[in-house]
């Protein structure tokens, strides 16, 4: 950590940034001995077992939890950590949560080893973003695994809980000006002791929630994940010995660091940046704010800073933990894609030089509960842009691993509440748009509805699953076309759109929706930015009448009624039986000049109905004849003309300001 002096990164007044050597109470003994020799088969068996244990930890949470946010959207993460809290394996879930687990665990080692002490069978719960969570809802559980009297390692998870209290359902407090208007924030406390859950602590946590039962189930799912992982690690140690298992853990981290190092060797030194704009620090605020991430590569180390980010304001902040997690996510995908989630070795070569007091690294008491749907995707997007530009400068073939930006609103998020068709209160978060899209890379188009790369296991719920849980009817869910949004020499995969009407209720409160005022996405090195994420709402429609008459409306323009203008962080919208609501997850970013796009690739999209003749001409300068074929010669002329037109419309000169 290189920061201004006299500033304490203690997890209290400022985010927690752990020192290289932790200050742990001497009463706690760590298991550090390693076997000198491990044969290759044993190494492979143990390494795979550990990875598999972590996957089983994740699938246990996923299976046993009941909120769609966790089980379908995979808005959680789990990890095995070394005795000092270095993250070893991450699961294929929400990547940015990985490092938050390491921070929380290290903080516990430093601040809880003396009192109340760290013992076998303990589970610590923390919701404190200044210690190490991305926002309060992403509650972390971390549990020491002891072998004999020594602390061998940690198992840990972070799960997004549907409601953990605070002034609004879902706990995303858009109006917050500081943390006291946010849901409560619990620094690490002992949820379980000696293998037993403490009823008082469990109640303290659950008592805050509007959805005590749901959150209770999810909490038990998270506890079950820990106990599955802990049990299997102990079996592994029993069979192979603590020193052998530890040797495999350390060597796996070393190997990860070496593999990352080899990638860094292929990248020139230099500095790369990305800037993403956002609006509305609280609902109604007309201001525009900046998220900026810069990467400086010097030899074998990456230095990350957030200089250029706006001063912290309103509810659009994230803590140091969020900044670190959001940056490591795209680094893992672009430079550690071959490590299967071993991220610990990577973070050894990445140093942070954060500028505190900013929206991308705020100080206490900045409000952060909304970060999960606003800041975190935005900072991941910002970091993605910076990392992608750096990786694009790498020697081939590494430069092909650069991947353009997913949307800053990548969840297509929409949070709503009301009474469901069974008469129960619920808070829903739409996961239908989790079909995502893979953005473009140098050398490759993205993948249409190919998922969200920084939540590798993410999956869209089936329409039927949504309709079973919520009082809605999905009129359509279909892929977008591949027009201007995300165009480029290599285009982004397309996103999707869906439309809902109410069914089984006559009232739904739309709590949070993200109608971007302007596009926030950035294209990569000549590509178009992705599209603008938006929702639309029409009231007083005849959708119900059309359905009853046997027609399923297939577009907002196919129903009568009045469109209600929706704004970013607009006031909660009320849906009634005449409402029709659409959610659009835009295509993500493209790469390279669209006029350089291969004609054969344009032809495939035309034939497949993904690209209109009009967009082929306007976006790609491709002239399509009446038979639907791209005319090669006329396209060459057209493209030459486009280039001339560009220059005619452009000005050469130094930027203003």
């Amino acid at each position: 950590m290189e920061t201004a002096q006299n500033v304490v990164w203690d997890g209290i007044v400022r985010g927690y940034a752990p020192p290289d050597v932790l200050d742990i109470d001497p009463s706690l003994t760590l298991q550090t001995a390693e076997a000198a020799e491990v044969d290759p088969i044993t190494y492979e068996v143990i390494r795979n077992s550990l990875q598999n244990i972590n996957l089983e930890h994740g699938s246990t949470i996923q299976k046993l939890s009941i909120s769609p946010i966790t089980m379908i959207v995979r808005d959680f993460q789990c990890a095995i950590l070394t005795e000092v809290g270095d993250v070893m394996f991450l699961g294929p879930y929400l990547l940015y949560l990985g490092n938050t687990l390491g921070l929380t665990t290290k903080w516990i080692l430093e601040n809880r080893s003396a009192s109340p002490g760290i013992e076998d069978g303990d589970v610590f719960l923390s919701t404190d973003p200044y210690v190490g969570s991305s926002h309060q809802q992403d509650t972390g559980l971390t549990s020491p695994v002891f072998w004999g009297s020594e602390l061998f390692c940690w198992v840990s998870n972070s799960v997004h809980y549907s409601d953990i209290g605070g002034p609004v359902p879902g706990s995303f407090c858009l109006m917050s000006q500081d943390i006291w208007q946010d849901p409560p924030c619990f620094p690490p406390m002992k949820l379980a002791e000696g293998g037993k859950v403490r009823a008082d602590m469990e109640d303290l946590f659950l008592r805050q929630s509007r959805l005590r039962d749901t959150v209770g189930m999810d909490l038990h799912a998270a506890l079950a994940g820990l106990s599955v992982a802990r049990g299997r690690i102990l079996k592994l140690i029993e069979r192979y010995g603590a020193e052998t298992v530890k040797a495999v853990m350390k060597r796996t981290l070393d190997a990860g660091e070496r593999a990352f190092q080899e990638k860094l060797d292929m990248i020139p030194d230099g500095r790369w940046s990305e800037r993403v704009y956002t609006e509305a620090s609280v609902p109604g605020d007309p201001g525009i704010y900046v998220s900026q991430i810069n990467i400086t590569k010097e030899g074998d180390t990456l230095y990350i800073d957030n200089e250029g980010s706006s001063p912290q304001v309103g509810s659009i902040n994230n803590t140091y933990a969020g900044l670190v997690g959001a940056t490591l996510a795209p680094l893992t995908i672009m430079l550690a894609y071959d490590l299967g989630g071993v991220s610990g070795g990577v973070s050894r070569r990445v140093k942070f030089r954060p500028v505190p007091g900013t929206i991308t690294c705020c100080d206490y008491p900045g409000a952060v509960s909304a970060a999960g749907v606003f800041n975190m995707p935005m900072v991941v997007a910002t970091a993605t842009g910076a990392v992608a530009k750096m990786v694009a400068c790498a020697d081939p073939p590494l430069r092909e691993k650069a991947i353009a930006m997913a949307d800053a609103q990548a969840y297509g998020g929409w949070i709503f509440s009301g009474l469901n068709q069974y008469g129960q209160f619920f808070v829903g978060m739409s996961a239908g748009m989790a079909a995502g899209a893979i953005p473009a890379s140098p050398g490759r188009d993205g993948v249409d509805t190919g998922g969200l790369f920084w939540v590798p296991g993410m999956e869209a719920a089936n329409v039927e699953e949504n309709e079973l849980a919520w009082p809605v009817l999905t009129l359509y869910r279909r892929e977008n076309s591949a027009g201007a949004a995300g165009a480029g020499m290599y285009r982004s995969g397309v996103g999707a759109e869906e439309a809902w009407v109410l069914h089984g209720t006559d009232h739904l409160d739309s709590q949070i929706y993200m109608n971007e005022s302007f596009v926030k996405n950035q294209g990569l090195l000549g590509g178009n930015p992705g599209g603008r994420a938006f929702h639309r709402l029409k009231q007083q429609t005849d959708a119900a009448a059309q359905l009853a008459a046997g027609t399923v409306p297939q577009g907002l323009d196919q129903v009568s009624g009045d469109e209600v203008p929706l704004f970013y962080k607009g006031m909660p919208a009320v849906l009634d039986p005449t409402s029709m609501w659409t959610t659009n997850l835009p295509n993500f970013a493209g790469y390279g000049d669209p006029l350089d796009r291969d004609i054969a690739a344009i032809q495939i999209d035309l034939t497949d109905g993904k690209l209109s003749t009009k967009d082929a001409l306007k976006v790609y300068g491709a002239v399509v004849n009446e038979a639907g074929q791209v005319d090669v010669d006329r396209t060459a002329e057209q493209r030459a003309m486009c280039r001339r037109e560009r220059l005619a419309a452009a000005t050469v000169g130094v930027s203003h300001a």
Binding site: K63, I438, V447, G450
Partner: protein
Amino acid sequence: MGYYIGVDGGGTFTDAAAMDDEGRLFYAKAATTRDDFAMGMFDALAALAEECGVEVSELIASTNRFSLGTTVGTNLLVERLGARTGLLATAGHGDSILMMRGSGRTAGLEPELFFHPQITDKPEPLVPRFLIREIDERMDCLGQEVAPLNVEQVERAVRSLVEEHQVEAIAIAFLWSFKNPAHEQQALEIVRRVAPDVYASCSHQVSPRMGEYERTVATVINSYVAPASAAYFRRAADKLHDSGLDHPLLIMQVSGGVLPAAKAVEVPLTALGSGPVGGLIGSLAMSRQLGHANVIATDMGGTSFEVGLIINGEPLVADENVVDQRRYKLLQLQTTSIACGGGSLARIDPHSGSIRVGPESAGAQPGPVCYRRGGTEPTVTDADVVLGLLSSESFLGGRMPLDRDAAVRAIAALGDQVGLGVEETAAGILRINNARAAELIRQQTVVRGYDPRDFMVYAYGGAGPLHAFAYAHELGVKGVVIPLGNGASTLSAYGCSTSNLVLNFEREELFFAPFELDRLNRALGELEEEARAAMFDMRAGGDEVEIDRFCLMRYRGQWLHNLVMRIPRGHLGTEDIAGVVDDFRSSYDTLYGHGAGVVSQGVELFSIRVRAIVRLRRPTQAMEQQFGKPVADQARLGSRDIFWPDRMERLESRLFDGSRLHYGNRIKGPAVVELPYTSIAVGMDQVLECDAFGNFALNFEHTPGASPVVGTQSSTLTTG
């Protein structure tokens, strides 16, 4: 004498196995004929009749039971030779199968690839966008109609698909059809009326499970493979009937059971991939006899290498299957496969200048160069012949002499391109092939956290026994069993012949605890009736039908989790249900830790299953009574120089006639045991032993990695 016959067709060879009334086993095989699978089957039966010492007509006429397993559906999918298929989907939801829930890019792939977006992509769609038709209709989650079916639209869509696009099959998959199938049924009637020759299936029949994506996939795959599969079943059944078979032809299913052909054609999806299941069932029968709790069942044939697992005496059952990154829900025994076998082609990779083996295969036509059927590119089998592991004279019991010179020429030509000698090239081909097989086993065991050292490998299929000495050894498993010796190359056929009639019925219906007893009893009763009626249709009924009833339970809201709980027989009372709920809660705590469940959280039952089994009688396998001497002189055929790829040296190796080996014989490597349909390679430091059931056990004297494990285990004791 009566016979119980199993046939496994569709691979490079069509395999046949028979047991007679006295429990004696016979095996035979013949080349699969691609144009008309039935021809290959009759060739195999002719060979089987010869083994049994009877005329083929007599064999068929005196057969008490005839079971057929097939890879025809898998071949259609893998080679993309299925029917041109159209899809009718609910308006607004035709993209579902293309969007693949956003996870189609990585579905079924190893988790490592999840972090690597650039090398993952979605598969080519089975139904391209222009063959998808959206139909105005809608049901809701309770099965109530929201919008009526637009009948004219269906008719127009069907006409357009059939007349303009010449589809040969149609899949109908509407939202919530498993709750209320009325619209799918209506649409099906229209298809039958408008296009009576086009095969059509509905999602509520094929996979009546929640989740429109998976249900649509199941239905599309079913329709895609149906026309060719059904034709295959019918032709086989007709021909067997014409040849005097007096019993219905039974078709192997992925459930591990069999069904009469007339029933199996209704939903061919349930036969898809049943070939490897036959081998797994055969391995299971054998592992129970031998007392092996953990088995890696490996089947290497001409085109593919299949792996299934038996853990603690039970085959792994999967509720979901992923074929080619397409996920669907169907109860089945789990097997995994890669294209890797005797027919795998060895080619030069132009980019790296290295030799690549597979995934392309020469199949049975043209087959390996040494088959003299027009093959010009060298295969793994050609390499076996060049090295001397396979004899050119005694292949298929001498009925099919192999052209060693042609194999040598082809491999030499390949070697020339990369500057390697003939033997080096052939050995390299085998080493690459074995490494690919070992990697799949590693994926299935190590990657899932199972240590292969706790397992026995069962090696069967035509090429398994010949290569297991290398691929199994590499993983350090306990040992290898070549089940049934010569029968190993036809184990799937044997497994088919041992299978019972099995039907699974399932209904998704939601019950909140305390369950409405009347509704539950009614639903179970209906399902049970359905199962009994289906069995009755198959001429099985009364007491011989064993009914097992299960339900899927979860805590309220857990969509992705369930525990399968057994429901007691008969009419359920309040106490029975309380017992089932208690069982659920305690199983949950056992699995996920004490207190994992939340007492206040309601329990729901969301699906009921009825499994009907009719156990098909068969004789007990005859055992060899006499324990012979370890020395196997009676079977000695002499010696041959073999170039062993694992050692890269030529060694004088002893040859044995496997058919003359007896219980108690021991053979030390290097040696090759020749059997009519396969050969068993016994490497240096390996010993082959014969048991009373005709199985051969291949034991390794040195297991790699064994000694360090012992060392660390003892250090564990002192640490702990």
